[in-house]
């Protein structure tokens, strides 16, 4: 199994370390030629969604990656990655891949002073650590998307088929369960 990690900007190394600790091979996607190889899953990391979104287009990665996701390539987006996958952003006119049936809110908890840590149940993973950094949350899911976790009544993780998205950063803690959850999606594809 090989996982491509979008490495345009943000916390991509942290995801690679998580996968390594699970014995899963990964590689960085920085430009078009990086995705000419075979791979089984895609991770879109945290960072600034405006930067990642812009570079996706400029480096001509946007269309091929969207095609892969639409064809069922398992994808895991954290924070900015969740924003990339959302069909609608309530406080921003941009739409990126837009492949998940959900509306999200950017910087929903305010500035850095609003960043926080908590622990909460996530689907079959049990109670997992959740680090929110200038994070978004999911205002609503519809269609095929289903909510996986909530914090204070707000949805913070969702799944739609092979797509998994979290508003928090599982790559920042040592707990590998959310990554294992994704690896299982990739395995069972």
């Amino acid at each position: 199994m090989k996982i491509g990690i979008l490495a345009l900007q943000g916390a991509f190394i942290e995801h690679a370390q998580m996968l390594k600790s699970l014995g899963v091979e990964s590689f960085e996607i920085r430009q078009k030629r990086d995705i000419e190889r075979d791979y089984d899953g895609l991770i879109i990391p945290g960072g600034e969604s405006t930067v990642i979104g812009k570079l996706l287009h400029q480096l001509e990665l946007f269309e091929p990656l969207r095609g892969e996701i639409e064809n069922g390539m398992p994808v895991f987006g954290t924070c900015a990655g969740l924003i990339m996958l959302a069909e609608k952003i309530s406080n921003d006119d941009n739409v990126y891949f837009g492949t998940m049936d959900m509306t999200v809110r950017r910087n929903a908890y305010g500035r850095q002073l609003g960043s926080f840590f908590t622990e909460q149940e996530l689907g079959s993973c049990g109670r997992v650590p959740m680090t929110f950094i200038r994070a978004p949350y999911i205002e609503e899911v519809h269609g095929r998307a289903e909510a996986l976790a909530s914090v204070d009544g707000r949805i913070v993780a969702a799944r739609q088929g092979n797509q998994l998205a979290t508003a928090f950063h599982p790559e920042l803690n040592n707990d590998t369960r959310v990554h294992e959850y994704f690896i299982n999606i990739v395995r069972n594809r």
Binding site: Q9, I13, E48, T50, V51, L59, Q112, H169, L172
Partner: protein
């Protein structure tokens, strides 16, 4: 400040990695920077080149001006306070700044003590010329480090010197035996635990950016090759002929710093770079402020 706050503040710096943080003086410039792909902006009244040219005492920017920039963009907004000026820092915290740069570019307010950054909820980035400075700032609570470079000159030589120095000292610590680390801690004037961290991990415990004199995509790529995790660009963008194009080129250069062909394309037709001053032509070395 509890541990989780300092952890969250280090985490924000992790999200900035692989990105470019740009100096801006107006909401319009901030929008250009965001549009060009900046991962954060530094709001200040005058960019370092103009601070250098104007001379005199340079202070924290007008909070109203910073708020204008906060309203203009959705990316993190940073602002500078003077070294040791914790009252300026508290004002910046009160307007919910995302990151405070305790910066040698402004006139130092305290020639002995830096701010006790552990007392704050907002994160701080501090400049460092070498490993000792970096670890002292981290010990005081900095959640992110940058080289000091020589702001406002458009001359990358000092940023290179600081980054090389830091990396060399890190490699030296890594190669030491554990009993030698006690003396290293003494020499660096930092706690043993921080020295031990560097010894075991081969890196600083916080994110480390390059700053000072970056003016071209090639400058940015050079700093990334030398071990920077991202780049601050100050005067280099808005002192150049075509800020939007140059800013976008530097952003792409940081992401693909190992692709020489792409760097060649990015370096084409950027218009006039900032003129710059050589380090031996300047009288005031800002990097010597606050050690």
């Amino acid at each position: 400040m509890n541990n989780s706050r300092s952890e969250l503040n280090r985490n924000l710096a992790q999200m900035l990695k692989g990105g470019v943080i740009m100096d801006v003086t107006t909401p319009e410039q901030a929008k250009i920077a965001e549009e060009a792909g900046a991962c954060a902006v530094m709001a200040l009244e005058r960019i370092p080149a103009d601070i250098r040219a104007a001379g005199g005492v340079s202070r924290m920017s007008d909070p109203k001006m910073i708020k204008g920039i906060q309203q203009a963009v959705s990316i993190p907004v940073m602002a500078k306070c003077r070294i040791g000026h914790f009252a300026e820092a508290r004002i910046l915290q009160a307007i919910e700044i995302d990151y405070i740069d305790e910066s040698e570019v402004l006139s130092p307010a305290d020639d002995k003590y830096h701010i006790d950054k552990t007392k704050f909820d907002v994160p701080f980035v501090c400049g460092a010329k070498d490993l000792g400075e970096a670890l002292r700032r981290i010990n005081e609570g900095a959640s992110m480090i940058r080289t000091k470079g020589e702001p406002g000159t458009g001359d990358v030589v000092q940023a290179v010197r600081h980054m090389r120095m830091m990396q060399a000292e890190i490699r030296r610590l890594v190669s030491m035996s554990e009993d030698e680390l006690f003396d290293a801690a003494k020499q660096l004037q930092v706690p043993y635990e921080l020295v031990m961290y560097v010894h075991e991990n081969g890196k600083l415990p916080v994110v480390n950016f390059a700053a000072g004199g970056v003016a071209t995509p090639a400058d940015a790529a050079l700093m990334m090759h030398l071990g920077a995790e991202g780049v601050f660009v100050g005067s280099g963008i808005f002192k150049s002929g075509n800020p939007a194009k140059r800013a976008a080129a530097i952003v792409k250069a940081v992401t693909n710093y190992e692709d020489d062909k792409m760097l060649a394309e990015l370096s084409e037709d950027l218009g006039e770079a900032m003129v710059g001053i050589n380090e031996d032509e300047i009288e005031l070395l800002m990097a010597e402020r606050g050690k």
